[in-house]
Amino acid sequence: VSGSYRVAHLDDLDRIEVAGGQYRPIRRRLGVRAFGINAYTAEKAGDQVVEHHTEGGGGAGRQEELYMVVTGHAEFTVAGETVDAPAGTMVFVPDLDARRGAVATADGTTVLVVGGPADSPIPTSPFEYWFAAEAPYRAGDYERAVEVAAEGLAEWPESGQLNYQLACFHALAGRRDKALEHLAVAAANDPGVAEWAADDSDLDSIRDRKDFPA
């Protein structure tokens, strides 16, 4: 264990026999506070790997849950629907009252579970907006890139990087004033902007303007 990070292998997590399977505590082992994360293992096909439960009743955490089969193969039952889930399958259950559970259909099945409180959603991280804009940007569709990235302004009006990306897209789309507006917001919120802008050819069309950050 290091001060700055903690590493664990799924195989090395504790195995606590519960409800016909094994509970593999991750959250308490690593000290995660921001969201719930645990794993469950069934050693034999036919064993319960996720206990049947809902998230809406007394004692439950009212959490939306994402289950991910990391090894083996499981069959989930969610609100009466059956989901065949080989390794790599992610099963997301947004409905707190949906009764869910899973049985292993292969030996050595491990399912990772991540949960967060459904009643207090968190903002989308700003990078998702510029990652999503990357495809139209690379295809030269700068209008579409602006549209996709600008969706993020509602949640992150002062994000330095988001405004910087918008400045680039606007500059490439030929809207120089708009580009400079975003660049000014970016420069006010991120000390790295002048350095990024110095050799970024996306901004060449506005480089000569007197309000270009230096």
Partner: protein, 211 residues
């Protein structure tokens, strides 16, 4: 509301980012998850970046990365750690600079994140589950000790008090068992009535507790 959405991580249409060498699988937006962040990344070749170099100071997120396939070298502040499939790394400090480069072809990493400012509340059942092994082994003192750690976070959980009553009763601490049963009954009499009906853990105090 849809009750369930299921998809294989690599079937989430990847978007090319970082100059086209890194594939982003937008898990959160594909599944419509709102209460925590999650995204997966694939590097097709060894040497390609699989986690962008960044920190979480802006969002204030704690993060867990899980290597699903392949291997990757993580740069975490000044330290370097190589992780293979099935390994996970937790980063509690949002300001720590982090990133990873694949050391094998077809390396996929999934990231989970959430804000530290509004901590996730550990659930009551985690304390029950943690105590289960000691209980099964007949070490009721240890089971009580482990589960009672939950009282600080969940002083008003009928379920926790009920289970503590069971551990105490089996450990021959009748007064303690009666105290927890009384608390559980105040909080949820129906739960105590239903659960205690055929629960032999409480036999030693059944009469005194009026069950």
């Amino acid at each position: 509301m849809m009750k369930v959405k299921a998809i294989n991580v690599t079937d989430i249409e990847p978007r090319k980012i970082m100059g086209g060498t890194m594939l982003w699988h937008p898990v959160r937006r594909t599944l419509g998850i709102r209460s925590f962040g999650t995204n997966a990344y694939t590097a097709l070749n060894a040497g390609d970046r699989v986690v962008e170099e960044h920190n979480e100071a802006g969002a204030g997120h704690e993060e867990v990365y899980v290597v699903l396939s392949g291997r990757a070298e993580f740069q975490l502040g000044e330290e370097t750690v190589e992780l293979g499939a099935g390994e996970l790394v937790f980063l509690s400090d949002p300001s720590l600079q982090r990133g990873a480069v694949a050391t094998e072809a077809n390396t996929t990493v999934i990231a989970f994140g959430g804000p530290v400012g509004t901590p996730y509340e550990p659930l009551v059942w985690e304390h029950d589950f943690a105590a289960q092994e000691s209980y099964e082994a007949g070490d009721f003192e240890a089971a009580y000790e482990i589960a009672s750690e939950g009282l600080e976070e969940h002083p008003d959980s009928a379920r926790l008090h009920y289970n503590l009553a069971c551990y105490a009763a089996r450990g021959r601490h009748q007064e303690l068992a009666l105290h927890h049963l009384e608390q559980a009954t105040k909080l949820d009499a129906e739960l105590v009535r239903t659960w205690s009906a055929d629960d032999h853990d409480l036999d030693s105090v059944r009469e005194r507790a009026g069950l």
